[in-house]
Subunit: 209 residues, 2 copies
């Protein structure tokens, strides 16, 4: 089989050369994990780009896939809905369930026992929104714990941590501390960061074995 | 064009799942940087596996490629020669120049003005050898500085840092400190590490733009 137009290691080399954005690399990683029909969670809808990308990964004619999207800001959900209106068809949009709720409460939204394949976090603030509203370490930790409970075996918690704003490094510390607490028998957790660009987002991936 | 049998992002996913060894991932990265005819340096020959891998990447019928291999231990160079005897043909072996020298002196071995495409470091001790002989931070720093001077534009310094032995974390600190000192206009430096397996080797890549 051939992978037309996709070079091997493209995402990895994009990271190393610094030519691809952290979010693009995250999307590449998700494509290796998520299949049609999977249930996934966008824990921080923001402007909706991740919700849309995830929807395209899970949606097919069978109508089985599902994207739970959440955000604490109604403007984020409005932006997400607007983006989906323009970029997804009606059948696809039916697979998205948006909730105005803190991601620490994701278990209130996702039915118990649902096998979740991926939980995506963008930690920081809403681009173009109110910069005083940022994700905060205590709720981020609760959200990561909830995500780890919901996640199915083989699934991934993906975090893009924006560290260029006040509180960003604390948030990264929270994610790292949670990641290092996971038993290596059942989890593989890794971190990718640019060393000589300290404000670049840091990627942390937590894979449930 | 198709990449038969090579999945996109295989190396990246190998890192994330923890299923591929750091050295295997490093080799995958090198293959994206090194071409036939390039001049490369194995700064820590060890048992010779990296020297051999690099040789196969640069060698072709033109006889232009070149691998400078060095190690401070004669047993390492003997192991490397032995491996090359068994796994490379005579024409390929002519492209390898082995030197019993500390890698901090690599500029004494590589002719001035040679465009070097890759400098590979395995930092730690020689597997199966005398564990009291380890790479040390002061000479490692001098070696990284020398490598950065020799490297051609578009080239890569690749380091696999073994952190599971005494002094390993100091060595990583040295590499990180050097990497963060590089100006972002002319270098992209990044680090990949497993978070919940603190003794796993850490990968640091320094790409010269």
């Amino acid at each position: 089989m051939g992978f037309v137009g996709v070079a091997p290691d493209e995402a990895l080399m994009g990271l190393i050369t610094g030519k691809r954005k952290a979010t693009e690399v995250a999307h590449s990683v998700w494509k290796n994990i998520v299949r049609k029909g999977h249930t996934v969670i966008d824990a921080t809808c923001g402007n909706g780009y991740d919700t849309l990308a995830l929807l395209k990964m899970v949606a097919d004619d069978s109508g089985r896939g599902c994207v739970y999207g959440m955000d604490i800001q109604s403007t984020a959900l409005e932006s997400t809905s607007f983006l989906l209106e323009g970029s997804a068809d009606e059948n696809e949009r039916k697979l998205v369930k948006l909730s105005l709720v803190c991601h620490s409460k994701m278990e209130d939204v996702v039915p118990k026992g649902t096998p979740v394949r991926l939980v995506a976090f963008n930690l920081g603030y809403l681009p173009g929104g109110d910069k005083s509203i940022i994700t905060r370490s205590p709720t981020t930790l609760m959200a990561l714990q909830a995500a780890s409970r919901l996640l199915d075996s083989g699934g991934l918690i993906s975090t893009v941590v924006y560290v260029g704003h006040p509180g960003g490094r604390d948030e990264l510390e929270t994610v790292q501390s949670f990641a290092s607490s996971l038993p290596m028998e059942s989890w593989a957790s890794c971190k990718f960061e640019m060393i000589n660009r300290p404000t670049c987002p840091v990627l942390v991936f937590l894979l449930k074995k």
